[in-house]
Each structure stands twice: as C-alpha cells, then as structure tokens.
C-alpha cells in the first residue's frame, strides 16, 4: 500500500439493501460513469465499484453489493454481500461505512435488514430510496423519528432524479469527516436464529408503525396491472407476445447495424489488404485479426437489443412476474421458475445466460440450468444455420404461405428448446430424483417506469464486457486458428489450396475416420476446429477451406453454391443436427468452469453435448442417406 495522507485517501463505502430497493439506480446516480465491473477472485459474482467525491472533496470508493434479505446468505451472490460487509472477503478491505438502501414504499424488509446489519457494528446510514413515489402515494415517513428509533442517520433519496441524492451526499460527507478508524477486531454479527429473525421483524414493524403513516387509500396501480399481467390466461398470452416481440426485434432491428459493422470490417480488410504486401503478415491481419474478430463483433447489435429488452423488463418489474407465470410450466421439466431469465438470455449468448443463473439459490437447480443453457439456440449459430439452410433447403412456401426455410429455422430452435427440457427432466427427475424440489420464493416488486439512465448504464456495461471478450479470448483464439490454418506454408509449385498443407488439414484428416459415419468430410472437420472459439467462425473457416476469395458477403453468397456441389443433402442436414447440440464454444465451457468452480461440470457439459451432437448427426445422416439424400 502506498502512503497516502488521511485527507485524500479514498473512503470505502459499501451499498447494501434488499433486492428491488433501487440500489443499483442509486449506485448509478452517485457514481455516474465512474464505475468498473469485474469479478471477485474465485467467485463469479460481478463486483461493481464506482467512485464519487464528497462535498468536502474526499474521494469515495463505493462498492455495490448484491441485494439480500439477510446476511444469512443462501446464494453465491448473497454470500458475497455477507463476506464483504463482515470484511472477510479475500483481497477486499472491510468497508468503513455501510450505506443501507431501503425502498420507501415498502419499508418492512429493509428496516429488518438494517436492524440485522447494526449488529455488525460498523457506521451506517440509511437511504430511503424512491421517496418521491412514497410521497406521491401518500406514505408519510417521519424521518427524524425513524432515525431516532434506528439510532442511525436516515436520509430520503430519489435515485432517478438529478437533485435526489444531494441530501444523501451531504450526510455521507459529514459521516466520513467523523469516521472512526477501522478496528481490527472481528465484528459482532452471528447468523440469527429463527426466533431472532421473528424478533427483528416485530421490532421493524413496531418502528414502522411508529414512524410511518400509511395512506387511507392504498395505491392500486400495481394491483390493476397485475390483474392482467398475472392473470392465468391473459398473463400467459401477454408473456408469449412479449417474447415474440423480443425475437422479432433481435432478428429484424439488429439487421441494419449488423450490416453496417460488417461493411466497416470489409472496408478495413480492403484497406489493410492494399497496404500490406501479399504474404504471411497480410494473411494474419486480414484473415486472422479482422476476419475473426469482425465475425464476432457483428453480433453486438443483437446482444444489445436482447439486453435492452431484458433490462427494460427487469426495471419495469416484469421479470419476476415472468418467472411466476413460467414456474409451473418449467417445473414439469424439473427447472426452477427463476431459470426462465437465464434461459431467455441464452438465446443471445449462453455466457450471460449462465452468469444470470446466480439468482438461483439451490446448487442443483443452478447446475441443471447451467447444463441446459447452451442448448438454447444462441445468436452465433444463426450464421451457420443461415448458410446451410440458404444453400440446401428450397426457398418455397408450404401449407399456404409458410416459408420452408423459415420452418426449418424454427424447427432448429424448437429442437434446442425441447432437448433442453428433456435434459433437465432427465437430470432432475431421473438422476437427482431424490433431491426434493427447491422452494420458489420471489418478491414481486411494484411496477415502476424504467429509467433511461439505468438502462443506458446497463447496456453500456454489457457492451463493454462483450467487447473486452472479443478483444481478448476470441482474438487469441483467432490467432491460434489462423496459425494452424497457415503453417506450414505450401511447398513451391503446390497445386492444392494452401490450407491442404497446413496443420489444420492434418487435424481434419486425423478426425475424418471418426466423423465419416455422420457424413462429414475433412473440410468440415477442419472448420469445426476453429468453430470451437466461436461457432460462427466455422462459416468463415469453410470459406477459407474451400478457397474462396473475397469478403464475408462474397463468402456467404458463393460458398452456398460451392457447398451444394460438394456436399450431399444428408451431409448438410447432419451438420445442422450437429450444430443444434455441439459444444462448440470454448468461452462457454470456460464460463461453466468458472461458475461451477471446477472443470468437472464443464467436462460433463462437453461430453453430453458432444454425444447428443454425434448421435443426432449420425441418425440424421443415416436416415437421410437411406431415404436417398446421400
């Protein structure tokens, strides 16, 4: 540690509160864009830290901790909150001040958490967030009385309004000025028993009864919206409509920006192609860097649109309702209602989906969700599906106006969903059948208008995480693959395409005997290897293997025709079947390893998906060949 004078050293403040209390909105309001997201070492819980400066000019490092109802943590998220508050988190200094957040419209659970946190013995301040909504509803909070009862400073705050955090900032600044030095002694918290939790809740209810006057007419907006959105029939129909709109948006709205990104990379490739002399360096920059990273970056718009929907629905308060509506349906397959959100995210990309399983408390439920999430058709499969369907499935309409190509695409999505349900059914009802189902307990927060600022911050964060991944993992993989496909160089006077002499071709030939029964030739085998880095890279690799010159557009245009000449229909269908299941994404496997804490479950995932991929491709190829498509 550097020697820093006491007046300029950053003060560590931790933000604690219930889920849905507007904690993240307050964090965004206090820190603005000065935040960074990382992972806690060893665990995969996102660590969000931001900075701000008090009125007196003291810098503050604000740590946003996952929401919890008690320090008696159940999920990995909540365990991080407990460990951080208690100062037991490895590599993390204990917070000097706890900034508790409670929802002013619904204080019961927040006040009980404050009473529990007081036992930790650190300086605390309570922010009554969403104070404007509470006031609007006629909830009258005697802040002084509340502060006296709790024996800590209490301030009203409105995270979504520009001036809503001034009083809170002033209070935090004042407390920092008189902050006692952090004692090295262990703090006084121990996990409360049931009797203590009862007593704390009674005490909280007593304090609220003394300090808060409820309105004569309760607010009915949420109840009236829920009358429709949680209605057994209408609610389910609305949910289906929302999902339909979301997928429409992902596939249609994303197209123009995706085309623009693609065009940008094509131009970049042209420029570098003109500048660099023909040879290894040009091949590296052109095919390895620009081609590889560009193929992945193209998916940024789709991922952002999907996250836009997820963040909007989350902020509005709808996500918990979706889990409520889906609980019974997914429960039939052994999945938890909360698994709905992670599985939905997996349609964009399995990685954020797998990371979103952290909201599931039970380890088995979480594992089951992680293991089936990669079966959801992620956006990286789309280029592969599009290429093969476009080339091999006749573009005609069947059953009065339904496009046959669209039907096959839809069938591939359904195949993914059905197999995910089947696998989870097998896991939870056959392999783990002696484990009783985990309870479903979820707070349904009051609806509120989504805040543009919060959504913006959320999207910005997602974009940053995605770009960082593209710039590191995927970039590295592309370099490796380019190397395998380019080295060694063809001998003088070579007649075959350069790749035939490379290490990649040797790998392809090596794999050929194994994959011949599913109808794959060595060129496909070679393309599968780079597909491990990112599925969509397989398209570019097939282009390279079949020696077609030109940018991506030319590739997908001509490649289809080339493939029709080189592959049988049975091979094409087998490759589609393979891609529904194949564990073709190293980043997903790495994420599973991180999330589950060992390679074991990543190995299980890889093995079962590979078996499914091989088996289904085998069946499809053999049946199609027998029917004369070979």
């Amino acid at each position: 540690m550097n020697e820093v004078s006491a007046a300029t050293r950053a003060v560590r403040v931790a933000l604690v509160g219930n889920p849905n209390c507007g904690k993240t909105a307050l964090f965004n309001a206090l820190t603005g864009s000065r935040q960074k997201v990382a992972n806690y070492p060893g665990v995969t819980v996102e660590r969000k830290e931001g900075g701000f400066v008090t009125d007196e000019g003291r810098p503050v490092r604000l740590l946003d901790l996952p929401g919890t109802y008690s320090l008696r943590a159940r999920s990995p998220d909540e365990a991080v909150t407990r460990e951080a508050v208690l100062g037991r988190l490895a590599g993390e200094d204990p917070p000097e001040l706890l900034l508790c957040v409670a929802d002013a419209t619904n204080l019961r659970l927040g006040v009980r958490l404050v009473l529990e946190l007081k036992q930790v013995g650190r300086p605390m301040v309570l922010a009554l967030n969403m104070a404007d909504i509470a006031r609007h509803r006629g909830v009258d909070i005697d802040v002084d009385r509340l502060s006296a009862e709790l024996a800590i400073p209490v301030v009203s705050s409105v995270a979504v309004r520009r001036t809503g955090t001034e009083a809170l900032l002033a209070q935090v600044g004042e407390m920092i000025r008189t902050l006692p030095p952090v004692s090295g002694e262990p703090c006084g918290w121990s996990a409360p028993g049931r009797a203590e939790t009862r007593a704390l809740q009674r005490e909280a209810d007593r304090i609220i009864a003394a300090a808060v006057t409820q309105p004569a007419q309760p607010d009915t907006v949420t109840a009236r919206i829920d009358a429709v959105l949680l209605h057994p029939v209408w609610g389910t129909l609305v949910l289906l409509a929302v999902l339909f709109l979301m997928f429409q948006a992902v596939f249609t709205w994303a197209q123009p920006p995706m085309d623009a990104i693609k065009a940008g990379f094509d131009r970049l490739a042209d420029v570098t192609g003109a500048l660099l002399p023909d040879g290894l360096l040009r091949s590296f920059v052109h095919d390895g860097l620009i081609g590889g990273v560009g193929a992945v970056l193209v998916f940024l718009p789709q991922i952002l649109i999907l996250f836009l929907f997820i963040l909007l629905l989350e902020d509005f308060g709808y996500m918990a309702r979706a889990a409520f509506l889906m609980d019974r349906i997914m429960g039939g397959a052994g999945l938890h209602g909360r698994a709905f959100i992670p599985l939905l995210s997996s349609f964009a990309c399995a990685i954020p989906g797998i990371m979103a399983t952290r909201v599931i408390d039970s380890r088995r439920d979480r594992l089951a969700t992680i293991l089936v999430a990669p079966l959801m058709t992620c956006s990286a499969r789309i280029p592969v599906y599009t290429l093969i369907i476009g080339a091999f499935i006749p573009n005609r309409t069947v059953w009065g106006g339904v496009s046959q190509q669209g039907l096959v695409m839809f069938g591939l999505y359904v195949a993914g969903i059905v197999s995910a349900l089947g696998v989870s059914f097998l896991l939870k009802r056959v392999i783990w059948r002696n484990t009783p189902p985990e309870p479903f307990m979820l707070e349904l927060p009051d609806y509120k208008l989504p805040s543009v600022r919060n959504i913006g911050f959320g999207l910005l964060q997602r974009a940053k995480i995605f770009l960082r991944r593209a710039g590191t993992t995927i970039l590295m993989m592309m370099v490796v693959i380019w190397f395998l496909a380019s080295v060694p160089r063809p001998p003088e006077g070579a007649t075959e395409p350069a790749i035939s002499y490379s290490l990649a071709a040797r790998i392809g030939h090596f794999m050929e005997p194994v994959l011949a029964p599913v109808g794959f030739n060595w060129q496909i085998d070679v393309a599968l290897v780079p597909g491990m880095a990112a599925r969509e890279v397989a398209v570019a690799s097939l282009g390279t293997v079949y020696s077609i010159e030109g940018g991506d557009e030319a590739v997908s245009g001509q490649l289809g025709q080339t493939l029709v000449g080189k592959w049988s229909l049975a091979t094409a269908l087998a490759l589609l079947a393979w891609y529904v299941f194949a564990p073709q994404c190293a980043s997903t496997l790495a994420t599973v390893r991180r999330e589950t804490g060992s390679w074991r479950w990543a190995g299980v995932l890889f093995a079962y998906m590979l078996a499914l991929a091989y088996g289904s491709a085998f069946v499809v190829f053999q049946v199609a060949s027998a029917l004369g498509a070979g």
């Binding site: 009473l115 009862r198 007593a199 809740q201 949680l230 409520f324 309870p439």
Partner: protein
Amino acid sequence: MSISLSLVSLEDWTDAPAVHAVAISPLGAGALGFTGRIHAVDASACPGVPAPAELEHRLLELGFVEGATVEIRHQGLFRRDPIAIRVNGATIALRRREACAIQVRPIEPVTRGARR
C-alpha cells in the same frame, strides 16, 4: 437496541372475539382472494418439505411473521400454482406447497386492520 426474544404470544392477534369461531388452515390451501392473518409459521408439519427449519426462516425473512395480514392475490394457470400473496404491503410469490407452512385464520377483507 433491546429486542425481546419472547415466543409468539397469542394475545397479539386474537383481538376480535369472532376470530375464535373460525378454523386455522394452511395458506397453501387457500382460494384466490383469501384474506387472513398469520397464526403461525411452522414448516415442521409440512408434507414433503426437505428442510423445514430453513423454509421457515426464509418465510420469516420475506416478512411472513405471526400477526401479519395476508391475501392471495393471484394464482398460476396449472393447478392454481404458484400463488402471489400480499403480505403487509409487499407481494411475494410462493408455491402452494411452501405456503402450507403458513397457518392462517381468515378475516373479513373489509374489517379494520386488514391493512396496517
């Protein structure tokens, strides 16, 4: 801060004489629109619950304590499950199976005290 750790005292909620006439039943068996007051939170008698003490604790943490007012606001499409329960100003979703740990006494929805 002093908190008494006394057990649930029955006097806390048996305020109206009429209440004595109606039976205690598990919330998980309640129909849509049921309104009542929590008599006890005890998962030990629940059939098929793996960790009754933990379930009880989680219910307490979500605000289901003795004396709180509950109302079944919504229910799912299949087997009327799960249910959304209004408890003292918050809405919590539970499966009926877990809601069986909450013993309730019905109260008239319009009586004073239905909402704190």
